[in-house]
């Protein structure tokens, strides 16, 4: 797995105690991790808690951190593991989130409604299917990377993805009409 030299340098500086390197790592990955956490938990408050915990824990790991693969994959794995812990404890809260600031009032309302429906549909998926769909579509991970991360075969990942998309197609039938 690729470990870009920029991340290598940042990790090295982070391990040597440099605040700035940690701040750059945070700025690079916080948006992506929050998106993934939100997709996995369907709860923005829980997503914020997870990402907060992941970064605080990461800040404590300077001495012990030993990366085998990419920093991105490592951080996504931390978020995914924490999201899995929460699945057992929490019921998803459906939050429509903010609509695009450039849209007009009517368009904003429509965007909010669409987001709400996607949130609802994702929440109805089995956890394992939702996990693969979020990692593929929101974290931009490849199937073989997801397979390696979840320790399952690539065929399992692909079938979870296919079933998940099929189910979403059924649940979001209205959104697909032109």
């Amino acid at each position: 797995m690729d470990l870009s030299f920029r991340d290598k340098q940042l990790i090295k500086q982070f391990k040597r105690g440099q605040n700035e390197a940690l701040a750059v790592i945070y700025d690079r990955y916080v948006g992506l991790l929050l998106k993934v956490a939100d997709g996995l938990t369907n709860n923005p408050d829980t997503a914020e808690d997870i990402v907060h915990d992941v970064f605080v824990k990461f800040a404590q790991s300077a001495e012990t951190l030993k990366l085998q693969g990419s920093l991105k994959a490592y951080l996504i794995t931390c978020v995914t593991n924490r999201a899995r812990d929460r699945w057992r404890k929490l019921t998803p809260a459906i939050e429509p989130g903010e609509a695009s600031t450039n849209a007009g009032p009517q368009q904003k309302a429509m965007q909010r409604e669409t987001r709400h429906r996607i949130h609802q549909a994702l929440a109805k998926l089995p956890d394992q299917q939702r996990e693969v769909i979020i990692l593929r579509l929101q974290a931009n991970m490849k199937f073989h990377e997801i397979a390696r991360m979840l320790s399952v075969s690539i065929n399992t990942v692909q079938s979870r993805y296919r079933y998940g998309i099929e189910k979403l197609k059924h649940l979001l039938n209205g959104e697909l009409k032109p």
Binding site: M1, S4, V30, L34, A62, I118, K142, F143
Partner: protein, 389 residues
């Protein structure tokens, strides 16, 4: 757009944006935790503060400062050299010799040695059936020997890309970076890199980065890390700038008793069917997997099957040589089939036959749609490429 694609697009675009107050609070908490934790090594600043707090070391440090000023050297973590000094040999050298590793942190790093002199490149591989390749970029030709088959091969290209050497790519990247408005150079702390003291410079803008380590006294670079044109991680080391390169190094001599084969390959305007044939050919001989990327450098190490066939060939086994030539041609097609517009390889380690995973996309010239090739080599036309990026 198919319903599945629309679903993917909806999920892709769905997602929350971080609240500014949460972003700030999380960052503050993280940095506070980090400061409270005991770092593995003291940062340069705190090392200096510790020295200056101690009476004995304070006197020694003062002496070091005076000595440094008198002899014009810097001390502790300050780089004596500047970016402009360090890039000078890279930009101006007429000849360069160096070792390069592609994808050093990956599972299968490729090691080569390159000598670049004017329009000539001599590349030596540590593994594979061909040890040395000579390239004349002016004549657009490539020459190599296959000792096992006692054959010399000359390939004449049409539309061969100009920057075939790695240092040339690094040089272009420096110039390109320097000409962008977002260009920044970060001076890194003096460090020990590859066992020697190093002054580091990280040049970047949002899309590209290049890291140079140089001798802090002479400003001569000894290591450069960057992402190559084909997005592989490249590390170049052990530079010899403007060393004398004997003319014989770049001579394309055919040894006595060798058969000479000549081929012509036009790398422009190739039909898509050729590309698909090349992709199938590579995956078939690579244990059913597509390569990490489609550079010649990455693909030149053949799969187990083809390697076994080549190493067992008899001195005049032209059948095996034809196989080698076919492989060379297919690999070149893979590398340079860029379509006339934009293109991207996303097939790393995908299995041949995987109908769900896209491996390659490109946009034909003047087209508003994109062609996407999947792991089972079927092709689809799509409107929105963002789904694949």
């Amino acid at each position: 757009m198919k319903p599945e694609e629309k679903i993917e697009k909806l999920v892709c675009e769905h997602g929350i944006s971080p609240r500014p107050e949460w972003l700030e609070q999380t960052k503050t908490d993280m940095l506070k935790t980090f400061q409270q934790a005991e770092p593995a090594t003291q940062p340069a600043g705190s090392q200096w503060r510790m020295i200056m707090k101690n009476k004995t070391t304070r006197a020694t440090a003062a002496a070091v400062i005076i000595a440094a000023v008198l002899i014009g050297m810097s001390f502790f973590n300050t780089n004596a050299v500047v970016w402009a000094d360090v890039i000078k040999p890279v930009l101006e050298a007429i000849s360069v010799e160096y070792d390069a590793v592609i994808d050093e942190s990956g599972e299968n790093p490729q090691r080569i040695h390159e000598v670049v002199a004017g329009t000539y490149i001599k590349r030596t591989y540590t593994e594979g059936p061909v040890n040395e390749v000579l390239i004349d970029t002016n004549k657009e030709m490539l020459f190599f020997l296959v000792p096992e088959a006692k054959t010399a091969v000359s390939i004449y290209f049409k539309n061969l890309p100009k920057k075939l050497n790695l240092i040339g790519q690094a040089r272009d990247m420096i110039l390109e970076l320097q000409n962008t408005p977002d260009f920044q150079v970060q001076t890194l702390d003096t460090d020990t890199i590859d066992g020697q003291p190093a002054a580091g410079f990280l040049a970047n803008h949002p899309q590209k980065e290049l890291l140079i380590w140089a001798n802090p006294k002479t400003a001569i670079p000894f290591r450069i890390d960057f992402k190559s044109d084909i997005a592989a991680d490249v590390t170049c080391r052990n530079f010899k700038f403007d060393s004398e390169i004997p003319q014989s190094t770049m001579e394309m001599k055919i040894p006595a008793g060798y058969v000479h084969q000549q081929h012509t390959i036009d790398l422009a305007g190739l039909p898509e069917a050729e590309l698909i044939k090349a992709l199938r050919f590579y995956a078939k001989f690579n244990n059913g997997l597509f390569p990490k990327d489609i550079s010649v450098l990455h693909c030149i190490q053949p799969g187990e099957d083809i390697q076994r066939r080549i190493t067992t060939l008899t001195p005049h086994d032209q059948k095996a040589l034809r196989l080698l030539m076919q492989m060379t041609r297919q690999l070149l097609l893979l590398q340079y089939y860029q379509g006339p517009g934009q293109w991207h390889w996303i097939g790393a380690d995908v299995e041949l036959g995987d109908a769900q995973t896209p491996i390659y996309w490109y946009q034909p010239v003047n087209a508003s749609t994109y062609r996407v090739i999947y792991g089972d080599l079927h092709v689809e036309q799509i409107d929105n490429i963002n789904l694949l990026k």
